[in-house]
Symmetry: C2
DNA sequence: AGAACGGAGCAAACCGGTTTGACTGCTCTC
DNA sequence: GAGAGCAGTCAAACCGGTTTGCTCCGTTCT
């Protein structure tokens, strides 16, 4: 019983052929007689044999695994609904391709480097880079380590982008523009923005898009607060904004968690939402639809992005097209959290 | 100069020793002269050599990786804040031990079985079983596949537990009891419970604890609704409870997301929280502290549980103690969402 | 009829580590 | 001074697959 798993040699013996033939019967890299193939498969099945992936990895130098390093503080990982959805999307694609996903959550830059080095030591074939920053060091790092990679971004890659890493991106700017348009149409002129950490490309993209949208309406974009995507920072930023003598009548938050915390804080000071203050979020978590009022947000299809990122990485691993790809899934979802501003 | 990574043979040559000596210098399984060891390390460093984990895995039949299969619908994964925190906790321990974490998100039972079979084919050494159900088939499955495992639970393992899998558990019952005590002390007598899917051991544990607590106060435990942990189910369950002619004055939810959705729904019908209705959650997500009113909840230390689960699994892999371990980190956090019931 | 060709399969080398039996000096004992 | 014991090292076997050079055989072409 149990003990050790059968090896390809056991299967070969049972089928009366050589190891090489068993391997070829499965890979099809050379013709194998139909009848032989059947004998091999039958033998494998009765022995319940599956190829050892360690041995396969050693022989082919491909691990059938891709890696994902998440470098964020635990509080943020805990509340941000992006990661789980993104990972679920990846998985759907990877599982179909027989690939595995290796995950690492790191706290420091050294840990991050160490994680990529372990990856390169024959643990994964490629990686997906999340939370890209301006002048991110990782594309260079992973290339030097010999890992294929794909980056996620919130804007089209610039022509002068220094790397040849394929980019999977959304166009967050357009969605932010739409949100601002909605608010301006409702009559708002004093609109604030609470961004994520601006070192992130995605946070900066939304931040810049907000400024551009306000400017295009000839409104001042001077109420800008940098948050960090946590509920706590959403509350603090909101407190600061509402404290001013001429408080804004609407706040555009860079994610839902900050928006919900901000909304709650505003209410606790006696303001009504949306009558006295309109708020919008970003990323449309499931909870947002079930609040009262519902939170106006931007659905970005995190799972789709995960799937596309995985697909793109698999293609890159096959040596195919390195082109960047736009994931066009951002949809503004209007709910009860916005309304015309109060009369002065 | 990319090309191929150096091998142990290159290091051996550079240091003027044999492959075996290099290996022994690193593993220390046999004595190696101090001076030789230094030469080997120096050579390895200058060649930037790291052992190939595929080769290591093949030679030792240990992969230095553990696996985690998450079998939940994407909506739930997206909102539940438990997984990310749990994983971050695991990772902290695993990284320190040089182990990797392989993650799989599956949609069906076949996919789940397939995932464990891939694991067993030399991808991971052991697995952590989450969301254990009554009569769960996985302990048996993974044992047959030759994988070491650890289970997470919300109650002490019964004596007659059919398996010898170590269990890492919290005692959710005590926390639920405390919540009920708080509400009863405030004068509530009509308290409802919205549970998670009762096939899960953790959901059932909280559900049963609720009934026991109510009974011990000689109150009827007859307002029980089974939800599924999503915001949508929290709202629906709440709608059903509040629709009754004698609506409850307090609702104990099995997680925060359902509680927040329920709270929002109640408000949208004109009820005030906590004046007209008290609500409590479970798992204490970061957001809960920043709502207004803050959500009374139970902090369960998901990250600590992750760390302990990882530690326990590593111990099991070393062949050490299979004992079950209690993670004593549940703390009831009282916030503004509960208050005495309205006078009739 | 002989050459050329391609399908089928075997045996052996290889991937990059780990493990172990055997050998060499050396020191320590009696 | 012979034997025991041990630190230190090497060479070779091994882990379980994949890949390739070569042989064997039957068919087709000229």
């Amino acid at each position: 019983m149990a003990g050790s798993r059968p090896t390809i040699g056991d299967v070969a013996r049972a089928a009366g052929v050589s190891k090489g033939t068993v391997s070829l019967a499965y890979s099809g890299k050379r013709p194998v007689a139909e009848e032989t193939r059947r004998r091999v498969f039958a033998a494998a099945e009765s022995l319940r044999w599956t190829a050892s992936s360690s041995a396969q990895a050693l022989a082919t130098s491909r691990t059938s695994t891709i890696g994902l390093v998440i470098a964020r503080r635990p509080e943020i990982i805990a509340t941000d609904t992006f990661f789980p959805r993104f990972i679920a999307g990846c998985e759907a694609v990877l599982a179909r391709a027989g690939m595995g996903l290796m995950l690492n959550v790191v706290a420091s830059e050294e840990d991050e480097t160490a994680a990529y080095e372990r990856y390169a030591a024959g643990r994964v074939d490629g990686v997906i880079l999340l939370d890209v920053q301006q002048g991110d060091r990782r594309p260079k790092l992973v290339r030097e380590l010999g890992l294929t990679s794909v980056m996620l971004s919130a804007e089209a890659p610039r022509d002068d982008s220094p790397t040849d890493v394929p980019v999977v991106y959304t166009e967050d700017a357009a969605a932010i523009g739409e949100l601002v348009d909605l608010l301006v149409e409702d009559g708002h002129t004093s609109i604030a923005h609470v961004s994520g950490p601006l070192r992130y490309v995605h946070a900066a993209a939304r931040h810049n898009a907000f400024i551009a949208a306000m400017t295009s309406h000839e409104l001042p974009a001077d109420r800008l607060v940098e948050g960090d995507f946590t509920a706590a920072s959403g509350r603090d930023a909101t407190a600061g904004l509402l404290d001013a003598s001429d408080r804004p009548t609407a706040i555009v938050y860079a994610n839902d968690v900050m928006a919900i915390a901000g909304l709650s804080f505003a209410r606790s000071t006696g303001l009504r939402v949306p009558e006295d203050l309109s708020v919008t979020g970003f990323d449309d978590s499931e909870l947002s639809a079930h609040l009262s009022p519902g939170l106006t947000s931007v659905s970005t299809g995190a799972d789709v992005r995960g799937a596309v990122a995985a697909d793109t990485l698999l293609a890159a691993l096959r040596g195919e097209a390195d082109a960047s790809v736009l994931v066009d899934g951002t949809v503004v979802v209007r709910r009860g959290s916005i309304a015309p501003p109060p009369r002065p």
